[in-house]
Symmetry: C2
Subunit: 388 residues, 2 copies
């Protein structure tokens, strides 16, 4: 194997309806804290500057635009796109180039600006990540995909909607403590369980947010890490998996086959097991997605995710804290930024820098990021290890 690589710094814009900022300004906002830590442009060899969907802004080839705006116009850059896994796919590509020795220090920045169009149009644009010949024309949007999974889970394991509502309550509980969150407000169980339906059995509080925002991390090769930090977060496991395009081609609707493969590959590479993970950031584009993630990642046996929820084992002081930054549900889901934002949260937790002791997890040695694209067509799982 090639060189070890660590995450050495991170930055994060405020997530929300950012009518005050253009896409390039969101990127600058995410890069600024990194610059302020002393990682100026001359210290960065190359970058991956990514967003998921050019439809939102009509801007193609935006890595050039972003590089130019944040002062990296004379450094190599590229854009990676993998729907909602854009952030972690960017990190996977950048990791390769650093580990292989092409660059020592790379900036990985993800962004999306989704609120200049209506919610209906945004949903349509997101749906274009599905098959534009054989799914979209028949009305299959993402809420519909995940509603089918939720229905199947309920049918197979006898779950009621209250479990999903409890996941939403947790997300909002933690989002309310995250100053970068899009919708930082507590939600009661009654509100979450009885909200207006979006696509049955999913209601308003089962769905993630249409958000503007950006997040960034800097990765460095082992020989260079000490120049930047004495608290490096090592990338020890990378697993990627894919599933059939259409869910009718899959063997199951209560698990995402590509996610299981990605998790297995990441655990193997990192030399750890699911029980060794101290915290996880999982892709809760819908509450049912978070529930399925518990099982795909091995935190619960198939069909036993609801017990983990009932026992609050997914809270910051539970057995496996999940999304204690608010998740896609309350923090928000700017598609291209999401995977990078998850990584940034693991770094903060490892460093003990969560804003509030009521959401800081004790002694994080191993953190996991799980990022899913489309309805599971691609998944990236990363495992991080505290380096101090």
């Amino acid at each position: 194997m090639a060189r070890k690589v660590a995450v050495v710094a991170g930055g994060h814009s405020k997530f929300g309806k950012r009518y005050d900022a253009t896409m390039r300004e969101l990127c600058a906002e995410a890069y600024k804290p990194i610059y302020d830590e002393g990682i100026s442009q001359d210290k960065i060899d190359a970058s991956v500057l990514s967003y998921a969907a050019s439809q939102f802004t009509g801007q193609g080839a935006g890595s050039a635009l972003i590089a130019d705006y944040i002062g990296l116009h004379d450094k190599p850059h590229l854009r990676v796109e993998s729907a909602c896994t854009t952030g972690t796919a960017s990190l996977r590509a950048a990791w390769g180039m650093v580990s292989a020795g092409l660059y020592d220090v790379m900036l990985v920045l993800g962004v999306e600006q989704m609120n200049r169009v209506s919610s209906a149009t945004a949903t349509e644009y997101m749906s274009q990540a599905g098959d534009m010949r054989w799914e979209y024309p028949f009305g299959i949007s993402f809420p519909a995909f995940y509603a089918l999974m939720a229905s199947r889970y309920m049918s197979e394991y006898g779950m009621e909607h209250d479990i999903l509502a409890k996941i939403a309550v947790k997300s909002h509980h933690y989002g309310a403590q995250n100053p970068k969150a899009h919708l930082p407000k507590e939600v009661s169980f009654e509100e979450a369980n009885n909200a207006i339906p979006i696509c049955r059995p999913l209601n308003l509080y089962d769905c993630s947010l249409i958000t503007d925002g950006a997040a960034a991390v800097v990765i460095a090769a082992e020989e260079r890490v000490k120049e930047f930090t004495d608290q490096p977060m090592w990338i020890t496991g990378i697993g990627a998996g894919a599933s059939s395009m259409m869910i009718q081609d899959r063997s199951t609707l209560t698990s995402i086959p590509g996610a299981k493969r990605a998790a297995q590959a990441a655990y193997k590479m990192a030399g750890v097991e699911s029980k060794d993970i101290d915290m996880a950031q999982v892709h809760d584009c819908f509450t049912i997605a978070e529930l399925i993630a518990y099982e795909d990642l091995g935190f619960a046996e198939p069909g036993k995710g609801p017990e983990l929820v009932e026992n609050k084992e997914n809270y910051h002081d539970g057995r496996i804290p999940v999304n204690v930054d608010g998740g896609l549900k309350s923090k928000g889901h700017p598609l291209g930024a999401t995977g990078v934002s998850m990584t940034y949260e693991v770094l903060k937790q490892m460093k003990g820098e969560a804003e509030n002791p009521t959401r800081q997890i004790d002694d994080v040695k191993h953190g996991l990021v799980h990022n899913v694209g489309q309805s599971g067509q691609f998944v990236n799982v990363f495992i991080y290890e505290r380096g101090w």
Copy 2:
């Protein structure tokens, strides 16, 4: 440094106005010869499946769609997008993941389907790779960008248009011998020099084609190369460079700063000089781009590119054969496929498999690919070495 990586196989669809095929079918056509050589899906660990602009098809996140269609739905994949450098940017990202040891064997496939919209709309979509706030609204499309460069070159060095026409004549001479070319017809000097203006001083024959097509290569880590071929083409140099977004921010219009940086980095990594290169595939989106490439790559001194053209040193039996497959000009320019198609041509030439002795270059030991995005905002240069 990590593992050596070689190109071990390639495939190429027919380029042209492919109303007979969808984007996914073009991809299958490019993958088929690779499959027929025995590299079936089970031998591929992961893929980068890319196109430049989702506007043409409305299809986002297409790597999942392509993976599904060509039977790689259960293998990790991602899409890289870097405008017209999408193909080589995909290869740069894939090289990293293989060299670093994450995967042993990867498929890199580039595609674009551009002819389902009118030429005017296609030009508009391509222009969206420029700055959508500060360029596009003021009428700056790609022909305009390169016309400005051509005007400046003429003014600075006293060149006449006939030099550009001779480049077009060469491209069509070779394109006419390439069965995969979009417009395989000879063009006379008079036709090329006196065609209708597109954006003065550039005329119809100075501009590349709006093309549908796909190309693919397989790369493998050194330990695995022998399973696939005894004629590996080693990737020995990779250089990437970037330039300021808007040309008014650049120090020169007769050179692309990022291209010079990319070339220097690639030569250094490969341990060769420009004089060691036996053939080059350069990014001739416009004839002036090919001329400038001669100088940025060191094949001619600044202002001396026209002498190389006058002396036909860029022909297959000249000092530095360039684009003897027809180039973007005659072979065509399906954006995301272009960089991969260039790589495929170097492989063919090294193996002595060009269709016609009148375009086969003798004894290619070192080949170079030069791929430019937007008006030079990003450039990738690859150097390849014959491994047998």
